[in-house]
Point group: C6
C-alpha cells in the first residue's frame, strides 16, 4: 500500500509509514490545538519531495496563513497553490433558494475548483482548512450528511491525499461541529490542549485509520521550528 509521509516528526512510524495515498483524513481539535501547524507540516513534507500541494482556506485570509506558517517554521509556502473559498453573504433569505445555492457553492463548485487546480498543478497533497463552514451553512441534517459524504467520496476518487480540518466545539467531546464528517473520512486524528496541574499539555490521538494498524496511545507533542514533533515516552 502506497503511503505519503505526514511531515509530523515521529508520526509516520506510528501509522505504518504515513497517510494512505488518496485517502481523506480529518485532523480535528479545539481552537489553538495546532491544526494549522499540522497542515503546514504536511504540505512542507510534500514540497521537500516535489509533491505539489494545495491549501484551501475557508476562514483566514491567505496572507495570514502564509505569515503564520512562515513565522512558525521559517518556511516559505509560496510554491503551494492557494484556493480561497470566500463565504458569500446571503442576499436572499428564501429557504428554498438558499438550499439550491448551498449545494452549488459548497458541494459542486468547491469540488470543481479543487479538481481543476489539482489537474493543473499535478498536486499530490491537499489541505482543506476547515470543513466547518460547510457543516455550518447546511442546516438540514440529512442534506449535510449527503453533502459531506459526496465531497469526501469525490475527493477519494481524485487521487490526491487530503487533510481536512475539523472543529471540536468548546465544552464538548465531539469530533466535529456536525458530528458527521468523522464517519466518511479514512482517518481521524484528534489534537488536544489540556490543563494538567498548572500547565496545558498538547496531545495527539489517532482515533481511527482505515487500512492501517495504528498506534492507540495518547501522544504528547510540541510545536517546534521543524513542525509538530511527537514526544517519545521511554
Amino acid at each position: 500500500m502506497e503511503r505519503l509521509n505526514s511531515g509530523i516528526i515521529g508520526l509516520d512510524e506510528k501509522i505504518q509509514g504515513g497517510f494512505v495515498k488518496g485517502s481523506v483524513n480529518l485532523v480535528t481539535g479545539k481552537t489553538g490545538t495546532g491544526k494549522t501547524a499540522f497542515c503546514a507540516s504536511f504540505l512542507r513534507a510534500g514540497a521537500q519531495k516535489n509533491e505539489p500541494g494545495i491549501y484551501v482556506t475557508t476562514e483566514e485570509p491567505k496572507e495570514d496563513i502564509k505569515e503564520d506558517i512562515k513565522s512558525m517554521f521559517n518556511w516559505n509556502i509560496d510554491e503551494t497553490e492557494f484556493l480561497v473559498l470566500e463565504p458569500v453573504i446571503p442576499i436572499d433569505f428564501d429557504r428554498e433558494e438558499e438550499m439550491g445555492r448551498i449545494l452549488k457553492i459548497y458541494v459542486f463548485d468547491l469540488y470543481s475548483k479543487i479538481e481543476e487546480i489539482v489537474k493543473k498543478t499535478h498536486a499530490k497533497r491537499l489541505v482543506i482548512d476547515s470543513a466547518t463552514i460547510i457543516e455550518m451553512f447546511i442546516k438540514d441534517d440529512y442534506l449535510r450528511r449527503v453533502a459531506l459524504m459526496k465531497l469526501t467520496n469525490d475527493l477519494k476518487k481524485l487521487g490526491v491525499t487530503t487533510i481536512v480540518t475539523g472543529t471540536v466545539p468548546e465544552g464538548t467531546d465531539l469530533l466535529s461541529i456536525s458530528g458527521i464528517i468523522e464517519f466518511f473520512v479514512d482517518s481521524v486524528i484528534k489534537l488536544e490542549f489540556l490543563p494538567v496541574a498548572e500547565e496545558f499539555k498538547r496531545t495527539l490521538t489517532i482515533r481511527k485509520m482505515r487500512r492501517t494498524d495504528h498506534s492507540i496511545y495518547i501522544h504528547p507533542f510540541e510545536i517546534t521550528k521543524d513542525g509538530l514533533k511527537i514526544i517519545e515516552i521511554k
Copy 2:
C-alpha cells in the same frame, strides 16, 4: 436452536455458539471502534462455510470497503454480493412529499432490493452498514420508530442472519443515533475504544441477546489479521 458462528475469535463460546439463525443483530460503537472489521469477520466466516453473504453499504463506496477488508485480513470479499444504497440529493424540499419518498426509498424499496438479492444468491448472512442514514433521514420520531420496527421485523422473516451497524454519537452513552433501533433487534453488541491511562483500549460488551444465555463481561479485544479477536483474561 440453530446458530451461525460469528467469525469473531472467542465470541461464539460466550453466546452459546453464535448468532441465532434468522436474527437481526446490532453492532454499535463510535467511529473507529471496529464495526466494519466485525462485519467482515462475520461475512468471511460465512464464506468459509459456503454461506453466501450480502453487504449493504449506505455510507462508504463499495471499492473502499473491499480494499479496507482486503488490507485488514488479506481476504478477498469478491464472492460477497454488494448492494449500494445511494442517498438521493433532494430536489424537492416540500415536507409532505418528502415523507412519502422517505418511506418508499428507505423502507419499502430497500427491503425489496434486499429480498430480491437474498433470493437470487441464497444468502445466509446479511450486513447493513449502517442503519444510521435511515435513522437520520426520517425526522419524525414516531415514523422513524415505525420504519425501523417494520424493517427489523421484515428482515426477521427473511431467514437470513443479519448484522446492522449503528452509531454511538460522540460525547454520549447512547446505543444509536435515534435511540430506538436497539429495542427491535435481537441482540446488541457494543464496541468501545476508551482511554485508559496513556492508551486506548478496545472492548466488546453484549448488552442483550434474546434466546441466549450470554456473557455479561466487558471483553477487551484486538483487531488481528484473522479478524477481531477477544483477549481472554485468565
Copy 3:
C-alpha cells in the same frame, strides 16, 4: 388486601406478598435489562394458578415473544391470549387529523380491545409490553399526560392486575421516555444492567409501591430457567 404473586423468585416477600390486585405496575429499564423475562415470569405464575393472562405486544411480533419466552424458561405461553397493537404507518400528515386518530387508536381503541378480551377470557393478569409507543406517538405534553392518565385509570377499574413495561432511554436516569407514566401507576420497579469493574450486574429496585410497605434495597438478580430470581445477600 388481596395480592397476586409476582412469579419473581424472592420478590413477593419484599412487597408484602405480591402485587396489589387490580393495580397497574410499571416495570422499567433500558434495553436488555430483563423486562420481557419479568413479564413472562408474572404470566407463568398466573398460568400455574389458573389465572388467565393477556400479553399486549406493541413492538415485537407475537411469534418472537413466544419463542423468546420458550427458550428462556422452557415454558409454553400458548394458553396466554395475545393482542398485537400494530402501529399504523401514517398516510395523512395533517397535524389536526393526526391528533384525533391518536386518541382513537392509542387511547380509546386500545382500551376497548383490552376490555373485550379481558371479559372474554376472564383474565386476571395483563401485560402491556410496552407503553413506549403510546408515549412516542403523542407529541403534545399535555395530551400525552391526559392519555396515559386515562389509560392507567381505566385499567385500574378493569379488575385485572397489570404490568406495563417502560423504557429508560440510554444515557439518562429517567423512568420512562415521557417522564410521566411513573406518576399514574401504583408501583415502579426499575431493572438495571450496570458495569461493575469488568462485569455487568443486574439489579432490581422498587421505586414506589402504593399500599405496600416495600423493600428499599437495591437487589441483585439473575435470569434463570425458573424466571427472574433475586439473589439474597446474607
Copy 4:
C-alpha cells in the same frame, strides 16, 4: 404568629410550631418519595383538631387516594371533602382558543371551585395534589408564570393553609416541572429517596419557609402507621 401543626412527627419543632396560618406550601419530590403520605398526615392532623380539610386531586382517582391513605395509616379520610379536577381531553386544537380555555379551567374555574367549597365546609386545610398538570397544560412561559402567581396569591387571601405538591423530574435537581412555582409559595419542603450504598434512604429538607426560623438540616424520615416521622439524629 398563628401556626397549624403539620401532622409530621418531629417536624413542627423544626419550623417554629407548624405552617404559618394562611400560607401556601410546596411539598415536592420525585415519584415515590412520600408526597401523598405527607398530605394525608397534614389533613389527618386537622381532622383530629376539628379543622376541616379539602383534598383537590388532579391525577389519581378519588377512590384510589382514599384507599392509599387508609392502607398507609389505617385512617378513614371520609370526613375530608374531595374535589376532582378532571383534565379535559382537548377537542379543538386551535392555539388561540386553547389559551382562553386554559386560563378559564386551570386558573379561574379551579380557584372558584376551591373558594366555594372552602366557604361551604369552613375548611382550614387544603391540599392540591398536584400542581403539575397546571404547569404542563400552560405552555407559554410567561402565561404559566402569571397563572401560578395568581393562583398562589388568591389562595393566600382565602385564609386556609395550603399544601401544593410538585414534581421533581427524574434526572434533574429542579424543584418543580416548571421551575417557577417555588418562587411564589411561602415554603418549599423537598422529599428525596436516594440510593446510599445498597439501600435507598428517605430525607426531608426545608428549602425555604417565610416568616420562620427553620431547620437547615437534611432530615432522614420514615413512613410509619402514624404518618411521616422524622428520625432524630443524636
Copy 5:
C-alpha cells in the same frame, strides 16, 4: 467615592464602605437563599439614616412582603414606598402586538413610574424584587438584552442606589434566568444555600463590584433578627 452602607452586618468593610452611590447592584440566588432579607436589610439601613427607600415588587403581594420583613427583623417597613408591577394577563396573543406591549410595560412604563416616585419621595435607595419577570416576559434574546441594558443604564442616571434581585435557576450555575443582566450591573452578589454533610450552609460571594477593591472570599452568613450577618472566620 461616595458609598451607602449595605445594612448587612460585616459586609461594608469588605466592599470599601458600601455600595457605590448611584450604582445598580444584582443580588442573586436560588429560592430560599435570603434575597428578600438582603433587600430589607438594605432599606432598613436607609430608614435609620433618613434615606427614603422604594420597594418595587413584581412577584409577591405588598402585604406579604411587609409581613415577611416584620417577622424577620421586627421592623416596620411602612415608611418605605411600595410600587407593585402587576403582570398583565394577556388577552391578545398576536406576536407582533405583544412585542410592542412588552417594551411599553416592562421597559418604558416601569422606568417612568420609578422615576416619578423617586422624585416625589426623594428616595435614595431602590429595590427591584425581582427582575426575573422582565427577563421571562421578553422572549427574544436581543430584545431582552437591549431592554435590560436600557433599564440598567436609565437607573444609573437616576441617582438612587439600586438593588435588583435575580434568580439562579435550580440545577444550574447561572447568575440569572437570562444570563445577561449580570453584565450591565455594577456589582453581583451571589447568595447560596448549599448542602454540607447533613446540613445546609448559607454563603455570600461578591462576584464583581466595579470601582471597588472587594473581598474575594466565600463568606458564610446567617439571617438574624438584626438582618443578614456575615460570620467572620478567624
Copy 6:
C-alpha cells in the same frame, strides 16, 4: 515581527514581547473576571508611548467606563477616543428586513465608523468591549460566522492592534457566546475567577497566539493600582 506591549505586568515576557502588531486578540471570561481592567491596561500602555487608542463600548455608558478605569488605576483615559455603539431598539419585527439591518448596523456601519476614527486619530490600539452584542443580535449560525469573520478580517487589514472582549456564559466552558469568534482571532486569552477552598482566585491562560511561542501555564494574577499583574510562581 513587530509587537506592542500589553500593559499587563509580567505578560509580555510570556508572549515574546507583546501582541503582534495589527493582530486581533480575544480577551474572554465570565462577568467580573477583569476584562475591562485588561483593556484599560492595554490602552494606558499605549498612552504612555504616544500610541493613540480607541475604546468602542457596546454595553456600558462611556462615562461609567471612564469612571471605572479612573477608580481602578487612577488613570485619566480622556485622551482615548470613545465610540459608542448604541443598540437600536427594533421597531419593525419583520424577519427579512431585520437581517438586512443587522448586516448594516453591526457589520458594515460599525466597521466604517472604526475605520474613520482610526484614520482621524492615527490610533495604534483599539478595544471593542464587547463583541457579545454582535454575536447575540445575529441569530443565524452561518450569517453570524460570516459577519464575525468579515469584521475580524477587516480589522486585521486596518493596521491597528485590537483587543475584542468576549463573554464566557456562566455554567459553561465556552470561549464566547457564539462559540465562533475564537476561530478568527489571532489570539485567545481566557480570564477566570475560580473558587479554591474558601476563596476565589484570578487566573489568566493563553489559549492560542498565532505567530507566537506563548506560555502554556495557568497564571494567577491580581488587579493592582498599576493594572493587571501576573503573579510569578517561583
